[in-house]
Amino acid sequence: MTTLTTDPPRNGLSPLERAYARLGVVLITPTILVFLLVIVYPLLAALYLSVFQIYTPTLQGGFVGADNYIELLTGKAFWSSLRVTIVWTVGTLTLQIVAGVGIALLLHQNIWFRSLARSLVLFPYFLSTVVAVLVWKWLFNDLYGALNQGLMQLGIIDMPLDWLGSMPNAMIGVILVGAWKYFPFVVIAVLARLQTIPENLYEAARIDGAGPIARFWDVTLPQLRSILTVIILLRAIWDFKEFDLLYLLTGGGPVTSTQTLSLLVYQEAFGLNQMGQAAAYSVGMMLVMLVFMVLYIRQTKEKA
């Protein structure tokens, strides 16, 4: 730094540029270290574990090569859980999006309870999953649950339904609770975008003869498209790997009919104490999620 003017540029970089590059490296080092520690190491560990047969409590076991993967491919467990995961993800995500966009549109209107409603809507998202699930379990209870009570009084059903203990009710139940818990995320993201759409566009559309529905399709929706893509991809990834809500609500049951891949991995690792097989399942799960990830990265790159 003392000989700023005499130094001939090396690698086509001026001394100042080189100093900046060094500073850059220093600044990103902590991030890279944390990344290696919490992402790369567990990933490599999982890959390593997945070629052993390991008894979880002792973490002892022998090398089995591709056996765990052969079990994954030929056995029923992985594929049936994958099917359950897809049903759960598509179901709850669809509801989240529809309810989220609908309520965001509603809250965007000038209604008198708007500011109150805007804060209330966040409530499920902030609520701890354990608390939320406890409340919902009571609501769903077949003997004294308010849900059955209400449906019976409305005359929609005449016998109490077994909500979480039978199919397809259990799947419908978790999908509903998942949608209830996570739609606020959609509301907030969509509402933020709605507020940036210029009012002039709606006025122009009204003058051009567009009614409320045409204005939604021709002005609102195109403006929401990019944010919706991001929301859908993010929520798809998060719902796909959702664990606590499902584990607490049904534990995967009845039998395995709501056992998603996360629950399968957990069951294999800590229920059946097969850490190696569990690791193989989690690697399989990760490969499926890679698809969403690639889509997400593509989408966000496009915008930049």
Partner: protein, 369 residues
């Protein structure tokens, strides 16, 4: 017939009175400018005509239809917004076609209408672009295209040129004048730029504080301003207004007596305080006999010099002289006003003009009607 009538229209936002007793009668095919300072209610007037705001009371008519309660899409109007308001995800072609699409015009008829509008505005080469890929002037033309594609009865334009640079603005001004001549449609044009209003409009409604101050031809607005506000708003620099006292057939300013022809003014003009108005081009700077003044500033614009002068009572007035004229700051001069160019106003805040008209000749070229 597409004349536009505002009859006794009032508009309040809550307790705030935005427009008061608005009466306008805009003729079929006329180009009318709404001109006034920021916040005077120009946009509100236009938006009520568009159906984007509703009058608190009064009646708005297009032709023989009362349109107070009609939806914007049913009024047979088209509007160009200051921000253009182009649909960002649609191409230029789709933007222009949109009003037709929403009115159920399909296929060949629609394509032809879009083609015609695009030709008129020289947009043919841009039809497949998105608004983001256009310059400000091009976006402006697309907004115009979307307005004129379906041949509405009345065009509404809210400061359509204010986002353009000076050169493009004067070009678009000429384009709009030509377009109006070609289409012969009623146009209502909001602007706070007096040059735009003076050069483009058949008539100008000068607005201030929610009221129309004067609604007349550019010539009349300039030469026979209805009151002190209009006199002080139009012209660069605007008309000088000097406090004085009427005494017989003289106006006394700072003890100096200026003769005027009493027969040119209304009978009600009594002795006492008045405001003398004179345009800068009718202030003659000389020496010897005249209203004494000191030169404070001389701004040479190239083809003329605007001189700011100070009277003994500290009133500042401006004069327009030829560029070659040399005047030094601090120089003592004597001013004379062309008696035929003198306006008198009531001495109140926004006093009315007291002349019996047909007085001064226009000195700015007017647009042929």
């Amino acid at each position: 017939m597409a004349n536009v009538i505002f009859k006794d229209v009032h508009k309040r936002f809550g307790s705030f009175v935005a427009l008061e007793k608005l009466d306008l009668d805009i003729h079929d095919g006329e180009f009318v400018a709404l001109l006034g300072p920021s916040g005077c209610g120009k946009s509100t007037t236009l938006r009520m005509l568009a159906g984007l705001e509703f009058p608190t009371s009064g009646e708005i008519r297009i032709g023989d239809r009362v349109i107070n309660d009609l939806a914007p899409g049913k009024r047979d109007i088209a509007m160009v917004f200051q921000s253009y308001a182009l649909y960002p995800h649609m191409t230029v072609g789709e933007n222009i076609a949109y009003p037709l699409k929403k009115r159920g015009i399909k296929g060949k008829a629609r394509a032809e209408a879009v083609q015609k509008a695009a030709e008129l505005l020289q947009l043919e080469a841009l039809l497949d672009r998105k608004p983001k890929q256009l310059s400000g002037g091009q976006q402006q033309r697309v907004a115009l295209g979307r307005a004129l594609v379906r041949d509405p009865q009345v065009f509404l334009l809210d400061e359509p040129l204010s986002n353009l640079d000076a050169k493009l603005r004067s070009y678009m001004r000429a384009e709009l004048i030509e377009l109006h001549a070609r289409l012969g449609k009623t146009m209502v044009y909001v602007t706070h730029d007096q040059l735009e209003a003076m050069t483009m409009a058949n008539r100008i409604a000068v607005m201030h504080g929610g009221r129309v101050q004067q609604f007349d031809t550019p010539d009349a607005i300039y030469n026979r301003p209805a009151n002190r506000f209009v006199a002080g708003f139009i012209g660069t620099p605007p008309m000088n207004q000097i406090d004085g006292t009427a005494e017989g057939d003289h106006i006394v300013i700072s003890g100096h007596r200026i003769p005027f022809n009493r027969a040119d003014f209304v009978d009600s003009l009594a002795d006492g305080p008045v405001v003398l108005g004179v345009r800068p081009e009718f202030v003659a700077i000389g020496s010897g006999d005249g209203l004494p003044a000191t030169v404070r500033l001389a701004e040479n614009t190239g083809h003329e010099t605007i001189v700011t002068l100070e009277l003994p009572d500290q009133t500042r007035i401006s004069a327009r002289v030829e560029a070659a004229r040399k005047l030094d700051v601090g120089q003592k001069v004597a001013l004379r006003f062309d008696p035929a160019a003198i306006h008198l106003f009531e001495a109140s805040e926004n006093g009315t003009r007291l002349n019996l008209d047909e007085t001064p000749a226009a000195v700015i070229p007017m647009r042929a009607k």
